[in-house]
Structures are given as structure tokens and as C-alpha cells.
């Protein structure tokens, strides 16, 4: 069953000594099922904080984060872990793959936290590895894969367990532009095919062509589209 992600009047601030930094300031955003939203912003604008709030890893000062029927901001730590295991797929800039473990085992790893045996996890993950185009390379260890292929393994891992929400933090940050385009296309296709909402935090100019909508986060404030400063920078 498809669900949408709804952020409402979200506020998160950090204190550093006597200074209060509003990392996320009154942010509201809806990501519909099957939609991939790109979130641009300069460094320190609050993008990562927003991602962590969405993943239930940070609690907001105020506002709500709803995913389907679930209020993410009020989850206990245990419920939060369950939510991330079963509902969320997370893609990192730096892949976080285990060197020495095969592509298949890397992709299957996440399911072990949910009580699967490795055999079953491998069985469940293999189609995802095929889906990201690595069916032939499942026995390869990360050291023998290209950077793009490593990110594909990380995407297969995010998709293992069939998540209902895709979150990606700079997934093309370590890739060249050709590999970056392949990965962006893959993320978009997956969101569309699976009818799941996706939130993509990025600096990559070419990502605009792959997302359904673009938002800018600057000093904690969210605005639709790219703001003028970023527009110039990306051009």
C-alpha cells in the first residue's frame, strides 16, 4: 500500500554555547507516492538534519512528520529502528559497504537486523541486485566493483526488505557524471515503479533532470524550486 511523506511546520534547532542555530525552521513538505523530490541547499543549510528527522533519528522541537498512518516524530527508539528497517531505504554518499563481503551479502545485511537468516536474506535480495544491474556480479567484493557499481549495491541494500520510503544523502557525491546519471535514473525509476516517495539530498546539478520537483533549503527555510543563488551556482 503506497503512502505519502508529510512534513508539517517542522522545527529543529541546535544550541552551541549561547548561540541557537535553527537547522530546520518551519518546514512543510509533502512527497507523494511515486514522486522523487530533490532537495538542494548549501552546506550547513539543514539538509542532513531534515533527512535525519525524516528517518526518525532526530526528534523535532515542534511540528510533525507523517508517513502513511505513522507519526514518525513520536516513535520510541525501538519503534524508530523498526520503522527504518521495514519502511525506509537509505542511500549514502559513501556507500558504507563492508569490504571483503560479496555484493549479495552487502545488500542482504540490512535484513539480518530484522531476524532473517542470511540464506533467506540472500534469496530475498538477489532480485534487487538484478534490478540494479548487478545480477552477474553478486559474488564480487566491493574492491572489485567500480564506484557506480558500489553505489548500486548500496541501493539494492536500501531496497532489500521492500521499503516504502527512499531517502538518499548525496548518492552521486562520489561518482563521476556518467555514473551519477545512471544512479539518479535508477532512483527515479524505482520510485516510479514501486510507487514510493523519495527524498534526494544533493548538490549535483544534473539531478534536476531526474527528480519530479526541486526544493531549496537555506538557513533552515524551505522554498520551492531553486533559489536564485543556487541557480547561478549550479549553472
Amino acid at each position: 500500500m503506497s503512502a505519502s511523506l508529510e512534513l508539517r511546520e517542522l522545527v529543529k534547532y541546535y544550541t552551541s554555547g549561547s548561540e541557537v542555530v535553527r537547522a530546520v525552521d518551519d518546514v512543510s513538505l509533502t512527497v507523494a507516492p511515486g514522486e522523487l523530490v530533490g532537495l538542494y541547499g548549501p552546506s550547513g543549510s539543514g539538509k542532513t538534519t531534515l533527512l535525519l528527522l525524516t528517518a526518525g533519528l532526530l526528534a523535532p522541537e515542534s511540528g510533525s512528520i507523517r508517513f502513511g498512518e505513522r507519526e514518525v516524530s513520536s516513535l520510541t527508539p525501538g519503534e524508530g529502528a523498526l520503522y527504518r528497517r521495514r519502511e525506509v531505504g537509505f542511500v549514502f554518499q559513501s556507500f558504507h559497504l563492508m569490504a571483503g563481503a560479496t555484493a549479495l551479502d552487502n545488500a542482504a545485511l540490512k535484513l539480518l537486523g530484522d531476524g532473517w537468516t542470511l540464506r533467506d536474506a540472500r534469496r530475498a535480495t538477489r532480485p534487487w541486485l538484478q534490478r540494479v544491474g548487478l545480477g552477474e556480479r553478486e559474488e564480487h567484493i566491493p574492491e572489485r566493483l567500480s564506484m557506480g557499481e558500489r553505489q548500486r549495491v548500496a541501493i539494492a541494500r536500501a531496497l532489500a526488505g521492500e521499503p516504502r520510503l527512499l531517502l538518499a544523502d548525496e548518492p552521486t557525491g562520489s561518482l563521476d557524471s556518467k555514473r551519477g546519471r545512471e544512479i539518479l535514473g535508477l532512483l527515479r525509476d524505482i520510485c516510479h515503479e514501486r510507487r514510493i516517495p523519495g527524498l534526494l539530498v544533493t548538490h549535483d546539478p544534473q539531478a534536476r533532470a531526474f527528480v519530479d520537483r526541486v526544493h531549496t533549503l537555506r538557513d533552515g527555510h524551505l522554498s520551492e524550486g531553486l533559489d536564485a543563488e543556487l541557480e547561478v551556482g549550479l549553472v
Binding site: L82, S94, L109, L112, G113
Partner: protein, 848 residues
């Protein structure tokens, strides 16, 4: 002024290191502590080993002054003091003074100590021993005072003029202490196990009226040979004429087996410490490689990179080694600071610490070299043709260990193991080298054991739902090099502890066995108070008769004996009455038949000798050995070859009748009491104590009590071994724990990524603990196997080289204890940091 080397300013070298220190404080501290622990162990043991003979030399020179020759008695009965006058009258003698030396026990409110009582003739001043500058000391001694070094006085809890009891010749002399030494004599006897008095007082206390045991002689310039000849003529083959330094070579021989044992333990400990330091440094390799890549990409050439890295290693090595030396100094002053009491029976000893410049340089050099060697691997990135950013191009994390490397290391380890076996069997004296090589074997075999274990665990983990074992195994595979290094640390820790702990246990077990068998010949022993080895005589004829009348006593046998100088060995002479149930300890016979040897000794004219004496003089059973007895040189047949029975220079066992005849004495070194059937040992003991009420200097002990006292003394002498063993265990467990902690801490970003993927912190903590347990188990299995082998070699070496009884016993309980201690301590230490790492904030996974 700021000179440059290879175009790099010296100030920049310091600045680079400052940056590194700020960025990688934890890793530098870890590496530094590993090096410091190794250096501390090396330094502490070296100081402890060199201090005994070094400080005894200072003490002896202080007590013999300017004398270069001495005439000495062959038994504690000594010779007439008139002989000193005859010596003074010999041509060429410039000065001479008589001495009486006797082992006594002083007891104060807080304990007792065995010391050598040294009674001087007043003219010792002419030899520069007591100077005119010390009128107070001289006066106090003149009025019958007894001088004790401050350390002995402190140990027994007595101050200036305080109450103390002196036990000698079977008598107890109350309130004998009048003086705690100060001044120049004090500096000579500082930390010594001696007591000094003027001759008449010493003779009175020991019951050796008008007797001397030594005459110290200073020949006139150029008359050394003449005086030696005259002394020999005077001695007539019934006394020894030797250099005053001869005592030192005897002490050196006496201390050698213990020193050798300590050296073996120290060598294994140092090798383990060195490899621990090496491993600690290896954990910093990834950071150093990235640093090299950064430097090269910024345009630094190979020489400059080498200079910067070398400088950093040098600073770390010197800093950590100095810290290690400070720690080692502390160890040598606290844990290793022990004068072996059993040697104090025969020699005036000193507990003063002597730190030579060689010791300092050795310890510092070892630490610096270890650091420099361990800094080499990252420099492989400087090879020609290797891209400057190679480390960044490679996969994140570490490359795995190739099959070739596993096979290569495994095969290398097995070849080295075989080589060690052949080498040690062929030449037991090379066991120290073998023990160190086995530490390398332990490291070489780790990759293969690691691979096999992970395969097995992986298969098991596949079938367990939600098993964190799979996560742990996957993580271990992904950091194979680092994991192998960590398992290597654990292997070294366990290897060292099992090998040293096992050999130590064998040695103690062997000595305990020898002592128990030795005292097993009597139900009750009557001995001089505080005495350890039955070497001090007392007049016993009336005493024996009194004891024989005590109800429950079936027999009273006079055991005789003492110490005898043979070459550079001060031997323990045990003269057993022929009626003893056993004259030889069954478990201590190395060569010869127990039954036949016992019969020959009972018959007379035959002796049993220790293997160290037999080996030194190439003697076998059936050969003869001439002993320098007080009645002249007497030849005995060798009936059996024994262990050293716990007395390092060796022992001689003979018939009491032979001893009485050749030593010309009826005095007893102990009385052996046999009980009547059904008599209670405790009741009879009390009865004997009542009968001996007039001779408070004689102590009555059951066989078990006597054995326990002697065992405690023997153990005290070998305490350094126990302490090295325990220190190694603790250092090793802490090294393992700190290495694991550092590695866990470095992985927080990866742990954070797992948290983002839905693993909760308890699952991650479980995975971390499992990983650590797997590594510890791999290391421990390897360490135990090699450790037990090392233990067997070490025990064999101890028996063959030192002559100590040390029969090999695998000691399963000790192995289990070692594993549990290392694993338990390491797991306890990492549990908290592991939990903190598992609770890493998730955003750490999103940052590089």
C-alpha cells in the same frame, strides 16, 4: 635559526607532528602505550637482574674494605681466632682482621628477617671498613650494640635501640638491637641483608667463642703472591685461601639459575611486548597511508615524506620509551624489588637498585627500533610507479588478505615451528631464541586460523535467524588485515602468558615437590629459629636426649649439614643419618638408581650430587669427586645425580657419619623426630616445645609446616618470575582491550550507517562484542597451542640449563585461567566503549 633537511624546515617537522597528535590523539596514545609497556617490561627485568650481583658487589666491597685476600673456614664451626694473629705476623701482610660470619634471624614487632651477622675485630678500621669519622657507630658497637641496616630494621619494625630478638645457635637473645646504622658504614650496607657487631659480641651471640670464619688480609704492595703462598701454607688444606672477590663469583653462580630463568621469561616477555608495540603501531597504518598520499599530492617528494614520517616515529618512539623506562623503574622499585631470602642464607645481599647506562640504552633502543620498524609498512606507498593517490583510489576499508598471503604465512609459520623444534632439541641453550621465535610463529599462523574460523562461523551464522554473528563475521572479513593484527595481539598475549605461566608453575611445582620430599623423612623437625635450609648448626646432644623422653617420640635422629664452597659454587650439604627412612628424594634423581644410590650413601663414602655440579665437572655415576672438607680434601664416589633440590648452586647429599668424621663436628643442623604409632603430631610437638622451654632459639615444626616455610622462601625468591608472568598477562589483556577499543571507535561512521538502516544499538553492541569475542578466541586458540609448546620447551630448558626441578605438566586449569583472564579483562574493558560506539549519533554516518 631554523635549518632545513631535504628542504623541510625543522620547525615544520614539529608542526606536522603537532597536527598529527591533535588529529589522532587516541591512536598515538594507543601506539605509545603499547611501546611503553614493552619497554617497561624489558627495563624492569634488566634492572632487577643486574641489581642483585651489582649491589652485592658494592656491599661486599664496603664490608671487606681494602683487603684483597681472605682465609676462610670450610664450615660454620670456623677456626681459632688465634689464627688472625698468626696471619698478621706473616711476611708481606700489611693489615689483617678477623671476621665471624653466621646466618642468624632477627625478629622485631612486625616481622623477622634472615641476615648474615658479621662480627668484626676492632682493627678492621685499618682496612677502611669502620673509619674514625664514625665515632658514634664505633662507640655503640663497642658497648655491645648490634647494627642493622635501616631497611632490615624497618622491615622488622624496630627503631634506634628498639626491642628485637636475635636467633642463633639454638638460642634466642632478646633486646640485641642497639643501633640502626647511619653514616659511611650504613651507605656500605644500605639495603643489605646483614647485621654488624664487634667480634666478641658476635661470638657471644652465636655461641662461637674465640672462633672466626674469615681473616681479611691486605698484603703490602708487591707482596700479593708471597702472602697468598704463606696463607696456603697456614691453611694446610683445611681452609680456603682466595681473593675477597671470590665471594662475588659464588654469588654470581648462585644467582645464575634464577637469573637465567628470569632472562628466559624476560626474553619471551620482551618479544611479546615488542610485538604488542608493533601491532599497536600497525593499527595506525591506514591513517599514515592517507597522510602520505596527502603529502605526495601536495608535492612533497619521497625523501621529504620519509623524513616527516621518520621524525614522527622517532618522536613517538623516544617519548613512549622514556615513559616505559619510567614505568619500568617504578616496577623495579616496587614489584621486582626483592632480595631473594633463600640466597641471604649464604651471602650478604643488598636490595639496592643499580641502573647502568647499558640497561638504559638497551631499553630505549628497543623501544625506538620497534617504533621505527612498525612505521615502515605505510612507506611502501612511496614505491616508484605507485600513484600518489593510490590509497584514495583503493576501496574504502582495507583490502582483504589474499589466499597467497594466508598460505605463505601459514607455511612460513610451520617451517619456523619445525626449525625451532629441531634447534631446541639439538641445542637446549637456544631455547630463549626458540621461545622468541615461537611468538613469531603464533603471529604467522593467525591468518590461516582466522580464515578457517570465519568460514565455519559464517556457515553457522547463516542458519541462525537475525544472528548478529553474520554481521560480526562480515565486519571481520571487511577489516581482515586489522582483525588479523588484533587477533595477533591476543595470540601474543595468551602465548606469552601460557608459556611463562606454565613454566613458572612447573618450576614452583618442582621445587615444592623437592622440598616436600626432603622434609618427608621426619614427622617433626627441630631447627634453628627462622632457618630455611637446615644449614645452621647447634649443640644438640642434651637436647636430643631431652626430646627422646617426650611421650610419643619414637626416635630422634641428628641431621647435619651446612654450606660448602666448591670452586665457584656454594653447595648445600645435606648429611642424613643412615637410619632416615629415605636419604634421597625419589623424584629428584636425574641419573642413577635410587635404591642402589641410597644403599651406597648409607654405607658411607658415597654422595649424590646435583646435575649442575656433575655437568660442570663432567662427572657420572660411579666417578669420584674430591670435596674440600675442614679436615682436608676427601674423595667420595658419586652414587647418583640429582636436581638442585631448589638450591640454585646445587646440593650434595651424604651420610651423617661421613659428615661427622670429615667436618669434625657432632653439632646438628636439625633434629628429625619420628613419632610412636598412634601418637598425635600436634600433641607431641607441644610436648617438645615444653621440653625445650630453655632453648627458645630452637623451633619445633611438623614436616608439613617446615615444608610450607621453605616453599614460601623458595617462592619469594622466584617471585620476579610470577610477577613478570602476571604483568605480561595484565599488559597483554589491556593491550588487546585498548587495540579493540581503538578499532571500534574508528568505526563509528560505519556503525552510524547501520543505525540509519534500522539496526538498534543493542544489536550493534552485540555484534561488536561478538566480533571481539571471535577475535579473542581465534587469538587465544593460537596462543594456547603455541603457548603450551613454548611452556614445554621452557620447562625442559629450566631443568637442563638451571638444574631446577621443573617437570612439564600441561596445566589445563592455568591455560583456562589465562584465557578467561585475557578474554574477561578485554571484554570488560571494551564493553563500555563498545556500547558508546554503538550509540553513535546517526548523523555520523552521513559525514565523511
Amino acid at each position: 635559526m631554523n635549518p632545513t633537511i631535504f628542504g623541510v624546515r625543522v620547525s615544520m617537522l614539529f608542526r606536522f607532528y603537532g597536527w598529527r597528535l591533535r588529529r589522532y590523539t587516541a591512536q598515538e596514545l594507543l601506539a605509545g602505550s603499547g611501546i611503553a609497556v614493552g619497554v617497561a617490561l624489558v627495563f624492569g627485568v634488566l634492572v632487577a637482574n643486574t641489581s642483585l650481583t651489582g649491589s652485592a658487589a658494592n656491599l661486599l666491597h664496603g664490608l671487606t674494605g681494602s683487603a684483597s685476600l681472605q682465609l676462610s673456614a670450610r664450615s660454620s664451626q670456623g677456626f681459632s681466632e688465634q689464627l688472625a694473629g698468626e696471619v698478621r705476623a706473616l711476611p708481606g701482610v700489611d693489615a689483617a682482621a678477623g671476621l665471624l660470619r653466621e646466618e642468624v634471624t632477627v625478629r622485631g614487632p612486625s616481622g623477622r628477617e634472615s641476615v648474615q651477622l658479621i662480627g668484626f675485630e676492632p682493627n678492621i678500621i685499618r682496612l677502611g671498613v669502620l673509619t674514625q669519622r664514625e665515632p658514634s657507630t664505633s662507640e655503640l658497637l663497642l658497648i655491645g650494640g648490634l647494627g642493622l641496616p635501616a631497611e632490615v630494621a624497618h622491615a622488622i619494625g624496630v627503631g634506634q635501640g628498639g626491642p628485637a630478638t636475635l636467633y642463633a645457635n639454638g638460642e634466642a637473645h632478646p633486646a640485641a638491637v642497639r643501633l640502626v646504622l647511619t653514616g659511611a658504614l650504613a651507605s656500605a650496607t644500605k639495603d643489605g641483608t646483614v647485621a654488624v657487631a664487634l667480634l666478641p659480641r658476635a661470638q657471644e651471640l652465636t655461641g662461637k667463642l674465640e672462633r672466626l670464619t674469615q681473616v681479611l688480609v691486605r698484603p703490602a704492595p708487591g707482596s700479593e703472591r708471597l702472602v697468598a703462598g704463606e696463607l696456603r701454607r697456614l691453611a694446610g688444606g683445611r681452609m680456603n685461601v682466595e681473593s675477597t672477590d671470590a665471594e662475588l663469583s659464588k654469588l654470581s653462580t648462585a644467582a645464575k639459575p634464577t637469573d637465567q630463568s628470569t632472562s628466559l621469561f624476560a626474553a619471551i616477555g620482551a618479544m611479546v611486548g615488542f610485538l604488542l608495540a608493533l601491532n599497536a603501531m600497525l593499527l595506525t597504518v591506514p591513517e599514515r597511508r592517507r597522510f602520505i598520499a596527502d603529502l605526495r599530492m601536495q608535492g612533497f617528494d619521497s625523501h621529504q615524506v620519509l623524513l616527516i614520517l621518520g621524525f614522527q616515529a622517532l618522536v613517538l618512539g623516544v617519548g613512549a620509551s622514556l615513559a616505559g623506562i619510567a614505568l619500568g623503574d617504578l616496577l623495579s622499585h616496587t614489584l621486582f624489588h626483592r632480595v631473594p631470602l633463600y640466597l641471604a642464607v649464604a651471602f650478604p645481599l643488598s636490595g639496592a637498585q643499580i641502573v647502568s647506562s647499558t640497561t638504559l640504552l638497551l631499553a630505549l633502543g628497543a623501544g625506538v627500533v620497534a617504533t621505527l620498524i612498525a612505521s615502515l609498512p605505510p612507506l611502501l606507498d612511496l614505491r616508484p610507479g605507485r600513484p600518489a593517490d593510490a590509497v584514495f583510489r583503493e576501496a574504502r576499508g582495507e583490502p582483504g588478505i589474499t589466499r597467497g598471503a594466508i598460505v605463505g604465512f601459514g607455511a612460513g609459520g610451520l617451517v619456523l615451528l619445525a626449525a625451532v623444534t629441531v634447534l631446541v632439541l639439538a641445542a637446549p641453550r637456544l631455547t630463549i631464541v626458540g621461545g622468541m621465535a615461537l611468538a613469531l610463529v603464533a603471529v604467522f599462523l593467525i591468518p590461516a586460523i582466522f580464515e578457517v574460523t570465519l568460514r565455519g562461523l559464517g556457515r553457522i551464522g547463516e542458519r541462525i535467524p537475525g544472528s548478529m554473528l553474520v554481521v560480526a563475521v562480515t565486519e571481520l572479513r571487511s577489516t581482515a588485515t586489522r582483525s588479523v593484527a588484533l587477533a595477533g595481539v591476543a595470540a601474543l598475549a595468551v602465548y606469552g602468558s601460557v608459556a611463562i605461566g606454565g613454566a613458572r608453575a612447573d618450576l614452583l611445582h618442582g621445587i615444592d615437590g623437592a622440598i616436600t620430599q626432603y622434609f618427608d623423612t621426619a614427622d617433626i623437625w627441630v631447627v634453628n629459629g627462622g632457618e630455611i635450609f637446615n644449614t645452621n648448626s647447634f649443640g644438640a646432644e642434651h637436647t636430643a636426649a631431652m626430646i627422646a623422653r617426650v611421650p610419643g617420640v619414637a626416635s630422634v635422629r641428628t641431621y647435619q649439614g651446612g654450606l660448602l664452597d666448591l670452586g665457584t659454587r656454594r653447595l648445600w650439604v645435606r648429611a642424613r643419618p643412615a637410619s632416615d627412612p629415605a636419604v634421597l628424594e625419589a623424584g629428584q634423581v636425574v641419573s642413577g638408581s635410587l635404591t642402589r644410590a641410597s644403599a651406597l650413601i648409607r654405607h658411607g663414602g658415597w654422595i649424590a650430587i646435583s646435575s649442575s655440579v656433575a655437568d660442570e665437572r663432567h662427572l657420572r655415576v660411579g666417578d669420584t669427586l674430591a670435596l674440600p672438607t675442614p679436615s682436608g680434601s676427601v674423595s667420595f664416589g658419586v652414587a647418583a645425580v640429582m636436581t638442585n633440590s631448589g638450591w640454585p648452586p646445587g646440593a650434595i647429599t651424604m651420610n651423617a657419619e661421613d659428615y661427622r668424621r670429615h667436618w669434625q663436628t657432632t653439632e646438628a643442623a636439625a633434629l628429625e623426630i619420628g613419632l610412636a604409632r598412634d601418637a598425635s603430631a600436634t600433641r607431641v610437638k607441644h610436648g617438645i616445645e615444653g621440653a625445650l622451654a630453655g632453648r627458645r632459639g630452637l623451633w619445633v615444626r611438623t614436616g608439613g609446616e617446615r615444608a610450607a616455610e621453605s616453599e614460601a622462601s623458595a617462592r619469594q625468591g622466584l617471585r620476579t618470575l610470577s610477577e613478570i608472568s602476571m604483568l605480561l598477562l595484565i599488559a597483554a589483556a589491556l593491550s588487546v582491550a585498548s587495540a579493540l577499543t581503538a578499532v571500534i571507535w574508528q568505526r563509528r561512521a560505519k556503525l552510524a550507517s547501520l543505525r540509519i538502516q534500522g539496526f538498534d544499538y543493542l544489536q550493534l553492541w552485540r555484534a561488536l562484542l561478538l566480533e571481539s569475542l571471535v577475535l579473542l578466541t581465534i587469538g587465544s586458540v593460537d596462543g594456547v597451542l603455541l603457548g603450551v609448546y613454548g611452556h614445554s620447551l621452557a620447562s625442559r630448558w629450566l631443568e637442563l640449563t638451571t638444574g631446577f626441578p621443573a617437570p612439564f605438566a600441561p596445566g589445563g586449569l592455568q591455560v583456562l585461567e589465562t584465557f578467561l583472564l585475557v578474554a574477561g579483562m578485554a571484554m570488560a574493558v571494551i564493553a563500555l566503549p563498545g556500547l558508546r560506539a554503538a550509540r553513535v549519533p546517526a548523523h555520523a554516518g552521513l559525514q565523511e
